[in-house]
C-alpha cells in the first residue's frame, strides 16, 4: 500500500462519565480511497470522523493526515472538509455565498473565489440556483450545496457524516451514484460514515466495520460479505444464517463439529478456535428441494416451510429444522409461474456446499 493519506493510530475517545466512544482504533486510509466507517448507531463512528476533522479531541492516540500529526492543528487549519449530517448550510447566505464562504474567510482572491465557486456549483449541477437562499431549496439540493462548499476548498480528505440519511429513497439512490461519480472526478479521498450497509457496500472501496467503539474488520465490500471475521460482521452485513456448533476435534486445516440441527460436520478452516464456533451461510447460497438431494458432499437437512415472503425478483423462504435455528433461503423467481414453488407447511430439504459456509470463531 502507498503511504496512507490518513493514518489513525491507536485512537481512543473517553467522554466524561467514563463512556468509551472510540476504543483503540487504528486504520490506514490510502489516497483516493472511498472509505466507509460502518456500524450501528452509537458505535462511535461519527466521533471518529469528528476526530479526523478536529472537531473532537482525542483521549489517546494519534491522527496523521498527509504525513503530519494533527494533534495541535485546529479544525480550521486541517486539510479536511466535512459534509454534516444536517448539511449545516448557512441559512443567512445565498447558495453562492455559502460555497464561497470557505474561500473568502481564508483570503482567496475574489476573482479566483468567483471562478472556483462557479466551477463547484457546476459540478453539483446547481449553477441555476446560485442566488437562492437555502430555505427555498429541497433537502437534496441543500446537500449538494454542502458538498460543493466542502469540495471547493480542495481538501485532501472529504468527510461525509451520514450524507444520505435525510433523503428519501429515490433521491438516495441518485445521490449514491452522484457521490461515486464525484469521487472519481475530483480524485479526493472520501471518508463516509454510515449505518446503512447497502450504502457502504455499493459506494466504498473499503469498509471498516465498527461496533462498540472498536474496529471489527477492515476489508473490501466483497471480502466483508463473503469472508466476515466475526459473528457481528456476518450478521451486520447482509442477511446470514448463523448456526451454533460445538467443536469435537480439530487439526491445523480442518475442524469437526456438532452443529445444532445439522449433526456432525467437517469444515476446512485454519483459524484457531475455542470450544464453540458458529457456522455462517448466506441465504442465497442455500438451495431447497422437495426430495432429498443426492449429490455428494452437500450439507443437507430436512425441514418444514414456516413462511414464504414474495419480493418480486426473489422469495424469502423460512424453513424450520429440528433442533436448530430457522434457516432463511432466498430463491430466485426465475420462471413467471409458480414463484418459489413452495408453500407454508410443506416438507422440504435445504442443502448447500460446505465451501459456501464459513466457520466463525468469535
Amino acid at each position: 500500500m502507498t503511504d496512507p493519506i490518513v493514518s489513525i493510530r491507536g485512537v481512543s475517545k473517553k467522554f466524561p462519565g467514563g463512556v468509551i466512544a472510540v476504543d483503540n482504533v487504528s486504520i490506514d486510509i490510502a489516497p483516493n480511497e472511498f472509505f466507509a466507517l460502518l456500524g450501528p448507531s452509537g458505535c462511535g463512528k461519527t466521533t471518529l470522523l469528528r476526530m479526523i476533522s478536529g472537531l473532537e479531541t482525542l483521549t489517546e492516540g494519534q491522527i496523521v493526515i498527509g504525513g503530519q500529526d494533527m494533534a495541535l492543528t485546529p479544525p480550521n487549519k486541517r486539510p479536511t472538509n466535512m459534509v454534516f449530517q444536517s448539511y449545516a448550510v448557512f441559512p443567512h447566505m445565498t447558495v453562492q455565498d455559502n460555497v464561497a464562504y470557505g474561500l473568502r474567510v481564508t483570503g482567496v482572491p475574489e476573482v479566483e473565489t468567483k471562478r472556483r465557486t462557479a466551477d463547484a456549483l457546476e459540478m453539483v449541477k446547481l449553477s441555476h440556483l446560485a442566488e437562492r437562499k437555502p430555505d427555498q431549496m429541497s433537502g437534496g439540493q441543500r446537500q449538494r450545496v454542502a458538498l460543493a462548499r466542502a469540495l471547493v476548498k480542495r481538501p485532501k480528505v472529504l468527510l461525509l457524516d451520514e450524507p444520505l440519511s435525510a433523503l428519501d429513497a429515490k433521491l438516495r439512490d441518485d445521490m449514491r451514484m452522484e457521490l461515486t461519480r464525484l469521487q472519481e472526478t475530483v480524485g479526493i479521498t472520501f471518508i463516509i460514515v454510515t449505518h446503512d450497509q447497502d450504502e457502504a457496500l455499493s459506494m466504498a472501496s473499503r469498509i471498516a466495520v465498527i461496533d462498540k467503539g472498536a474496529v471489527q474488520q477492515i476489508a473490501t465490500p466483497s471480502e466483508l460479505y463473503e469472508q466476515p471475521l466475526t459473528r457481528f460482521v456476518a450478521d451486520f452485513i447482509g442477511k446470514v444464517n448463523l448456526i451454533d456448533a460445538k467443536v469435537l476435534g480439530k487439526t491445523s486445516k480442518a475442524i469437526t463439529c456438532e452443529a445444532k440441527g445439522l449433526g456432525k460436520l467437517n469444515f476446512n478452516t485454519d483459524k484457531a478456535c475455542g470450544d464453540t464456533v458458529a457456522i455462517a451461510v448466506r441465504p442465497e447460497k442455500l438451495k431447497i428441494a422437495k426430495i432429498e438431494p443426492k449429490a455428494a458432499g452437500l450439507i443437507k437437512v430436512a425441514g418444514k416451510v414456516r413462511d414464504v415472503a414474495y419480493y418480486g425478483d426473489t422469495s424469502h423462504v423460512v424453513v424450520s429444522i429440528k433442533g436448530g435455528p430457522d434457516l432463511q433461503v432466498n430463491v430466485q423467481n426465475d420462471s413467471r409461474t409458480g414463484g418459489s414453488g413452495v408453500e407454508r407447511g410443506q416438507s422440504i430439504w435445504v442443502s448447500w456446499m460446505p465451501d459456501d459456509s464459513l466457520v466463525l470463531t468469535e
Binding site: F84, Q85, H92, V105, K133
Partner: protein, 290 residues
C-alpha cells in the same frame, strides 16, 4: 372538532378577558392622556385651576415640548439608554453563551442566578447600589485599602448607566439565551471546518444567526431604559436627569398633566420610530427569521 377560531362563542370567551384588560387598563387611559396632551389647565376666576381643564385647546403643549431644554434632555436620555443597551448586549452575550454551553446540570441554576435580582424590590436594589458606590461605599473602601480614591461614583451619568445595565441585564440575557440555545451548533462547526477562525465564525455566522435574539434584547432593554425615572432619580440626582424624571415631575410636583402627557407622547413617538427602524432592518436581512 371545529377550529376554535371559527366558533364565535368560544373565540369571544377566550378573547374577552384579554380584550377587557387591554381596553380598560391600556387603551382608555392612553386615550385620556392623548386628549389631555391637547388640553390646557382651565382658568377659574382669573387663576389657574388645580383640578379643571379646558379640553382640546390646541398643540401648545407640543410646541413647548420641542423647546431646546426638553429636546436636550430627550436626546441625552436616548444616548444614555443606547449606551446602557450596548453595555448590556456586550455583557449579556458572553453570559448567554456561557449558559448555553454549560452542562445540563448547571443550566437551570445559572438561569436562576440571572433572574434572581428580580425577586428583590427595585428600590432596595437601587439603594444597595448607592451603598456600593457612595464615597464611604464598598468600592471606595476597597480602593482606599489599595491607596486609591476616593472617587465620586454616585450622582453622575456613570452611576445611572451602571444602574440601568444592572437592572435590565436579564431582559438581554434571556432572549439571547433562547436564540443561542436554538442555534444549531453544526453551523459553527461548519464555519470552523471551512477554515474560518473563531473570531470570523463569531462575526459571520454566530452574530447573524442570533440576530433575532439581539434585536429582541435591544428592544426589551432600550425602551424601558428610555422611560426609566427611578434609577436616574436615585443614582443620578440632579446631575443626570432623564426624560422620565421630567415627565414624572410634570405629573407630580408641577401638577401639569397636559404638558406631562405631551412629553409622554413625544417619547412614545421616538420609541415608534425606533421600532420602525427595526422593522426596516429586519426586512433588509430577510432570510433570517427576525
Amino acid at each position: 372538532m371545529d377550529n376554535w377560531k371559527d366558533n364565535k362563542n368560544v373565540f369571544w370567551t377566550l378573547a374577552a378577558p384579554g380584550t377587557f384588560w387591554l381596553l380598560v387598563f391600556f387603551i382608555l387611559p392612553l386615550g385620556f392622556l392623548f386628549v389631555m396632551s391637547f388640553s390646557d389647565k382651565a382658568m377659574v376666576n382669573g387663576e389657574v385651576s388645580i383640578t379643571d381643564y379646558d379640553y382640546l385647546t390646541g398643540i401648545t403643549n407640543y410646541i413647548r415640548s420641542v423647546d431646546p431644554l426638553y429636546l436636550t434632555i430627550i436626546w441625552k436620555s436616548i444616548w444614555v439608554s443606547a449606551l446602557a443597551t450596548l453595555l448590556c448586549l456586550v455583557t449579556a452575550y458572553p453570559i448567554a453563551f456561557g449558559i448555553c454551553f454549560a452542562s445540563e446540570r448547571w443550566k437551570p441554576l445559572l438561569l436562576l442566578l440571572v433572574v434572581l435580582p428580580f425577586w428583590i424590590n427595585l428600590l432596595i436594589r437601587t439603594y444597595a447600589l448607592i451603598a456600593v458606590f457612595r464615597t464611604q461605599g464598598y468600592v471606595n473602601l476597597t480602593l482606599g485599602v489599595l491607596g486609591l480614591g476616593p472617587y465620586d461614583m454616585l450622582y453622575n451619568n456613570f452611576a445611572v448607566i451602571f444602574g440601568l445595565v444592572y437592572v435590565y441585564m436579564p431582559f438581554m440575557v434571556l432572549p439571547l439565551y433562547a436564540t443561542i440555545e436554538r442555534l444549531d451548533k453544526s453551523y459553527l462547526e461548519a464555519s470552523l471546518d471551512l477554515g474560518a477562525s473563531q473570531y470570523t465564525t463569531f462575526l459571520k455566522v454566530t452574530v447573524p444567526l442570533t440576530m433575532p435574539g439581539i434585536i429582541t434584547g435591544v428592544i426589551l432593554v432600550f425602551i424601558p431604559c428610555l422611560g426609566s425615572f427611578l434609577t436616574p432619580d436615585l443614582l443620578g440626582g440632579a446631575n443626570a436627569i432623564m426624560i422620565g424624571n421630567v415627565i414624572e415631575r410634570q405629573f407630580k410636583a408641577a401638577n401639569d398633566w397636559p404638558f406631562g402627557a405631551a412629553l409622554s407622547f413625544m417619547l412614545m413617538y421616538a420609541t415608534f420610530a425606533a421600532l420602525m427602524l427595526r422593522a426596516f432592518l429586519a426586512k433588509r436581512s430577510a432570510g433570517v427569521d427576525v
